[in-house]
């Protein structure tokens, strides 16, 4: 069975009539998008430069990067005509601390408690040893 492809009439190439006026083909024209939000500002070299920078009165935030001093300044006009000026300073990130393994304290006793128990055991052994020696000596004396 043969495939039949239907070509839309608009795709069929028309022979070029040399007497027909030729119109330029439609080309892509970039459209200005006014809805795009972009940041206002510029790089500065000092805080003074940022402070005296003239900004728009429309209340938008202006950002001034001061890389040499590791700071970013923001400036905007408030509704009462005053300006807000903020300073953001770079801070070095804290080094990661090694994770401390979790210890189950139920498996351990305090050193004092252990020493007390050891002393009790030692004392008990000493008492028993003394009794055993006395008993042994008594038995030995009875034989002779």
């Amino acid at each position: 069975m043969a495939y039949q492809t239907q070509i839309p009439p608009s795709f069929i190439q028309q022979p070029i009539n040399p007497y027909m006026p030729q119109f330029p083909t439609q080309r892509y024209m970039p459209v200005e998008n006014n809805n795009v939000n972009y940041l206002k500002g510029r790089p500065v070299t000092s805080i003074e430069e940022a402070r005296v920078a003239q900004i728009d009165f429309d209340g938008t935030l202006n950002i001034f990067t001061d890389i040499a001093n590791k700071r970013i300044y923001t400036k905007q006009i408030n509704i009462d005509g005053t300006s807000s000026f903020n300073i953001y300073t770079l801070t070095a990130p804290e080094p990661e601390k090694p994770a401390i393994p979790q210890v189950d304290l139920n498996e351990y006793v305090k050193k004092d408690e252990l020493n007390t128990l050891l002393k009790q055991v030692t004392d008990t052994i000493a008492v028993l040893d003394k009794k055993f020696t006395q008993q042994h000596n008594a038995e030995a004396g009875a034989k002779f």
Binding site: Q54, D58, G59, I77, N78, D80, G81, T82
Partner: protein, 78 residues
């Protein structure tokens, strides 16, 4: 299209009502600028002290002497 300061002065000199002109400019800009909205509110409430304070703040922001600039502005209409 917003009216600039020079156009405003020319319109006032041309015989237009300054108050109406300024109010129309404020109404035009108040839609997109909160400071102008505040100015419009003060103007509608006839708060001259508040308006002057904003003008002084803006002049200070631009590094201008308000009293001197206002005196120069008034000279234009003499």
């Amino acid at each position: 299209m917003p009216i600039n300061g020079l156009q405003l002065i020319q319109m006032i000199k041309g015989g237009n009502n300054p108050q109406q002109l300024v109010m129309s400019v404020l109404q035009q800009r108040a839609q997109e600028n909160p400071m102008y909205a505040n100015l419009l509110k003060l103007a509608q409430g006839n708060d001259q002290q508040g308006l002057e304070q904003i003008a002084r703040n803006l002049a200070k922001e631009r590094g201008m002497d308000f009293d001197k600039e206002f005196a120069n502005f008034k000279q234009i209409f003499k």
